[in-house]
Symmetry: C2
Subunit: 483 residues, 2 copies
Amino acid sequence: MARSMEMRGITLVRDTNVPVYRQIYEHFRSAIRIGQLRPGDRLPSARRLAEEFATARGTIDAAYAMLAGEGYVVGRGPAGTIVSAGVGAVARDKGTKPAVHRSRVGAASSTGARLPGASNPRPFQLGLPSLDAFPRKIWSRVTARQVRELSVADMAYPDPTGFVPLRESIAAYLASARGIACTCEQIHITNGYQGALDLIVAVLLRRGDAAWIEDPCYPLAREALAAATASLRPIAVDSEGLRVADGVAQARRARLAVVTPSHQSPLGVTLSLPRRLALLAWASAADAFIVEDDYDGEFRYVGRPLPALKSVDHDDRVIYAGSFSKVLFPSLRLGYVVLPRRLIATFARVAQRRSHGVPALTQRAVAAFMTEGHFARHIRRMRNLYASRRRALADSLVAAFGDEIVVDLRHGGMHLIVRFRSRVSDSKLAKLAQAAGLAAEALSSRAVAQPCGQGLLLGFTNVAEKEAPVLCDQLVRAIGPLR
Amino acid sequence: MARSMEMRGITLVRDTNVPVYRQIYEHFRSAIRIGQLRPGDRLPSARRLAEEFATARGTIDAAYAMLAGEGYVVGRGPAGTIVSAGVGAVARDKGTKPAVHRSRVGAASSTGARLPGASNPRPFQLGLPSLDAFPRKIWSRVTARQVRELSVADMAYPDPTGFVPLRESIAAYLASARGIACTCEQIHITNGYQGALDLIVAVLLRRGDAAWIEDPCYPLAREALAAATASLRPIAVDSEGLRVADGVAQARRARLAVVTPSHQSPLGVTLSLPRRLALLAWASAADAFIVEDDYDGEFRYVGRPLPALKSVDHDDRVIYAGSFSKVLFPSLRLGYVVLPRRLIATFARVAQRRSHGVPALTQRAVAAFMTEGHFARHIRRMRNLYASRRRALADSLVAAFGDEIVVDLRHGGMHLIVRFRSRVSDSKLAKLAQAAGLAAEALSSRAVAQPCGQGLLLGFTNVAEKEAPVLCDQLVRAIGPLR
């Protein structure tokens, strides 16, 4: 006969295959199901029960966790473990788990209503496209069709280098819009620009390798490189863009340079042709690579978009990084790189180890959006819209501030810079604006090693023309005390 | 008057604001548009033109790249640069770019037809759920509604820690299905299990830190840790799972242990309760953390699913990693971790720097799928389906091979192990099977430092019951020569 001990009405059998936690679980489960324990009743404390049965605390906890997991009991912190409300009636006789799941979801709808989510962009927010002008109906139709047509094969692990038809569409788009001649094989799909940077850093940088960054620069690029424990070499930017000769003088042996040739981030200047050629020549001589972050190369309002640096890259030294965050919308989390041929295989290998790729639906939807012509049309529309919004914001700023400011309006991009004639600190101005709900940022916050001047960075893409005067008045009031 | 030079009919003006590459571009563009150059005509070689004009090769290339980008010319390698077919007629007079874009897309449809994609799962493929049994209509309806209702706010950068209603649904699910009591704040959404591992490694491991891995183990976990230059300590697995005492003896000071307690990958054994408690005690004493990879904890066919290790984790040492790859489908690229409270802030900070999060649509669709009850229903259905498919495959294997084999059928998981009585090498068997299109893998390939026995790993989730006998006969024929 089995050795057993009974305490508090619980019989524990010692020499059986059924573990102790399971016996305790069965005891309470049955007590609840037959109504011996009722909703609101308290179970003995796990600590005390463990002592009484001379068993490990974890054993009792395991039993209680199973009961809680199945909804029979709930933990109430210091009040102990309580039999769940309504559980006796629901669970009894059915042999199924009590319907605790729904009730714990709380406010989340179970009727198919929209789930609550993120907040709207703040006025002047940087780095966002005009979300109000996105063709949501078309996008929704295209995506709904792709999800309907998702095959069994599409549900398996995606190709870590990306969905081939999307890569073909991107190659065609780059040829036509950015002057880049590349094949589908060179396109590698990533989880946004940050996914691209992560991958680039993992493939190219060893601890301590030097990398040029622009000074001032885009903060996330700087952080991604710093996280890779690269030795960062900030190189100054002037009216022709990155001072390549400074880079060569300061860090000829660097492994990587990260640049924004179309519109330097944040200054908005364009890298001149002589500098482009010098940069390429340096990379060839140093056996280095260049990351061309072309985040908004499409958006140029004076003249036509310049061809990308990649388009004149004869020694195949440029990794061109593109993103759909600025030309479609950021929550897609979709980007890509155009790889030098010698790096294709290494990127594929590292990507295979680091990630199983980007969601199939996202890739299919964007591919369809592109091949059906919506993409090119959207970019054309946005270029016109941004030109108007840029102009309207600049005019409203001048109307609101008069000659206190100079609006630094570059030929492209998605933001402008307001420079104040007075010597007031731009970070103080930005703080006041932010306190008033306006997403202005201080130009000086983008400086790395040397000052880059003062001013407020204002995104114009989400400022509708008719809102511009109102928002500029708000800005005047917000920073009034300091002007 | 401007200084100029003329050569080959091209007039270059030197002292103007128009850069040379732009002048060359304009010359050829105009020549093509007026029909002076016709489809098939060859442009002068860039090298020669650069010499003639005493200008940089890159200048000519920039001009040619713009022309190619806009579709006026195509590069033909050694044959030079040729005026595109049909371009004269299309582009002329319209002032628009020639319609080169579409033609380069090649086979990709422009009429909204389904784009071509990935291939179907191979028989016996490991790690895939039953894709044929996924409720695609419901999924498609849920997703289509979420994409229709995507707001402006949802299109901006998503919260890098995840969409709150999804995190709430996951917390409720884990409480009910896996016995885990956690709050929404502890859930951090990731780009699949690999995204979780990347993040864990970035937060917790410094170069040279020791980490326990199971031996044999899941290869991707091993690779992710190796990429972090951690010092890997393979710890043997026996019939009770990881031999924790060996780990303590061999690497007490390790920083991390990565384990699969529900069904060890690949052996399928369950980590016993005493081992679970010993593992937790070690982690507390060593100030270490445990990654619980619960990739298929829901799928148990004998008895009910065991509560997760995390459910008895009193010192908050376990990072529970879940994935939707196995319970929904892999191309979602969606996973999550349940974090110890002390790690929440660090993970949020590192995630902010490393990634802008997971696509909003994916997160919304899965949240809705869960709160509407489809998720729990799907898992129940799959548990029953997998139980039948597992049984059917085991029976068919025995029918096909007789007493040449022993089928190692664990209580859970998504694959089984076929062990051969003869001493034939499992990697040779796997090679033969793979050559016949069957995705069998060798058990020995999962060993790290010590042998773990021989056998074939066969996934049963995508083997329909009526196909099982046919596929087993195929396997017999494929490996026949070696049996």
